[in-house]
Amino acid sequence: MTMKRRGCLTKTALATALAGGLFATGASAQLAGHNVILVHGFMMDDLSNPPANFQEVQQAGEDNWREYWLNRAEARIDWASNGRVEGQIAQQAYQQLRQISQQGLCNDYCVVVTHSTGDLVTRHLLENQARWLQSEGLQPLKILAVLDMAGAGGGTELADLAVSIAYNDSWYNWPVKQAVKAFTGIDPEPDNLGVVNDLQTNVARNLAVSPNSIPRLRFVGGGSSYGGITKPFIDGTDDGVVPTHSACGATSASGIDSCSNSISLAGKVSGQNGPSGLYYNHYPVLMSEGANHGDVINTQTGNTAVPVVNNTTLNGLRVDFASRTYNQRAWWQFWGSGDQFIEVPNSSQTSLSNLVYTTLNN
């Protein structure tokens, strides 16, 4: 959600941006044979230095995905974070939806990959895109599924705090203020918060929440961002920016520790404070305790991924998870079998995004 733009606009980059938001990158720009569309998250630089034009918005979007997904997508929907979802963001996003529709990129179903606030932006677009496009005589986009990486559709408590901090004097609670500054990249003022307003938990959870027929596959991190200074202010577990209740697609903003009631973010099989329910068609797929908010879309390795196993029966067959467990003895246990963990074998040797991409393209 809080990705910084890297470097300045070069002439070449500007030329690329001017060529439009849509780009073809060859055969790899598909996932399981379907075109991929990227929707990025909150760009903190847009608050301190609002983009002068849409080319800058596109350049930031391109930079955001460059490390992994950029060359694996056919199109992007870029938007400026100094706007609001039901405002400038919807307008910018729709111009790109129109182009995608006109080019027929989703005629054979697209896969949308979102990061962080892209979850919320996509939810608003999915609720309205068919009506908007049809009113112009255009074909609505056919979406196969949405892969939400660290989805912020349920908001974050950091945004709640940012709005209050914007109204408090400089002496107020230093640790809270530092956490908010790390998250937003600015000294918050009442009128410079942009999409952070939409990320307040109550605002996010009252925006375009109707049940939708498009499956949302959720990928959830649990690592630390900004040196860990934000974690104390987010309910339950989190990835340093987004709470687990949001990333999983939980129906309530109450803090939870895992997307599962019986498997921790680290894969430990034990009773967990999990969600009491999930939004319709929301499916938590993988969790990774070590992956922080940015790691889930880049090439960071070393983080074990954990399948969110909620249903041990498939096609009437009961799955024996013993084949996918390993034992790990706690430091205080002298010998014996130790606790049971579930993991995606060898997942720490690759990044979460690469694991998803290569598996789907298998």
Binding site: N173, Q200, N202, N206, P211, S260, Y283, P307, L317, D320
Partner: protein
């Protein structure tokens, strides 16, 4: 004396043995606590649907899932999604948690941490207020700080920062304050600023809410009837302005949520009837006793163009109760939604690789 030495030796030996056993990883009984055994008991289910998968029909024994854990997850998603497409978009089943979430207009208490372990919490009974209804504010303060005896609440427009209303919150109980702010102001997004004095300095708790325009009035239900495989519930709504609207409501039988119903339609400025439909897949084979209730009615005027705001209005708090017609003719048959079916087929195709 020798007996005392023997007793002491025995006690020490027993203590060491006990500690060793306690620290052993084999000591599952003491350390596992809430641990569940994966081989013998299924992890507790959290699902976004409350319908059990139908029994597998007799036939060839299916292949066991592959060892690819992510592949297994994708196959699980494909299977679960296959179950959801049985329901048309206009009539989806609800778990209790989903029923609560999709009621709409919910407000989760917002916490502002104070120094130490202090907390400044503001709670509203809803997020969206119809123009003119009072905004009831409850605030609580706790911690080791010294708090002032009164709190103020101010309503400010989110855009121009115009202060449009304010009120004093009264001390209801120790640490608890409450009061009401007027919402008789132009529709839009507002910020509620609740100010307290903490250790002699002002601390402001700020959160967002909306004031909604008068979209029209709910005028009750017409007689429900069965058409095809749907129970049709006509809702009378008298809109103030024309536009494209989405009406949603939850169908209950007593305390049991049955379905979330939704219908989108274009309305003129004259009185209209919007027909909500509950599909047979959410009603057939259910033990429905007595009258049905339509609760949490919510109508949205959807944004005509990108960038427009979505406007909201809500039905009567008590909802509507009605006697259903004979529902015996409804069948638990899957709905036909070509796009969802194609989506499910593609997901299955993807999962079949594992």
């Amino acid at each position: 004396m020798p007996y005392r030495a023997i007793s002491l030796t025995l006690a020490i030996t027993a203590g060491v043995a006990g500690t060793v056993w306690l620290l052993s990883a084999e000591n599952e009984g003491s350390f596992r606590g809430l641990l569940q055994v994966t081989n013998s008991s299924a992890p507790q289910m959290v699902s976004n649907q409350d319908t059990a998968a139908p029994a597998t029909p007799a036939g060839p024994v299916p292949e066991p899932p592959s060892e690819n854990a992510l592949g297994f997850m994708l196959a699980s998603v494909a299977e679960e999604y296959q179950q959801t497409i049985r329901y048309p978009d206009y009539s989806v089943p609800l778990t209790k948690a989903q029923a609560e979430a999709y009621q709409g207009n919910r407000y989760h208490p917002v916490v502002l941490p104070l120094e130490g372990d202090g907390r400044f919490v503001v709670t509203l009974d809803k997020f969206r207020f119809s123009q003119g209804e009072p905004i009831l504010v409850v605030a609580s303060l706790n911690g080791r700080q010294v708090f002032g005896q009164s709190l103020s609440a101010t309503l400010e427009t989110a855009g121009e920062r115009d202060r449009v209303a304010s009120a004093e919150l009264e001390n209801a109980d120790p640490g608890y304050f409450q009061g009401a702010v007027s919402s008789d102001h132009p529709p839009g997004e507002y910020r509620l600023i609740v100010e307290a004095r903490v250790d002699g300095k002002p601390v402001r708790h700020v959160s967002s809410l909306t004031i909604e325009p008068d979209l029209g009035s709910f005028e009750g239900l017409e007689t429900a009837y069965v058409s095809g495989n749907d129970l049709v519930i006509p809702v009378r709504f008298d809109p103030e302005q024309s536009g494209y609207y989405a009406l949603s409501a939850q169908l209950y039988n007593g305390e049991t949520p049955l379905a979330q119903l939704q219908q989108e339609t274009s309305l003129g400025s004259s009185s209209a009837v919007i027909r909500l439909k509950a599909h047979g897949s959410v009603l057939a084979n259910r033990d429905i006793q007595g009258p049905l209730q339509l609760r949490h009615l919510q109508i949205r005027r959807l944004p005509a163009t990108p960038g427009d705001r979505t406007d909201y209005a809500f039905g009567p708090e008590e909802g509507y109760e009605f006697s259903p017609p004979d529902l015996d003719g409804l069948r638990d048959q899957p709905a036909m939604n070509p796009e969802s079916e194609q989506r499910a087929a593609l997901l299955r195709q993807l999962a079949d690789k594992f």
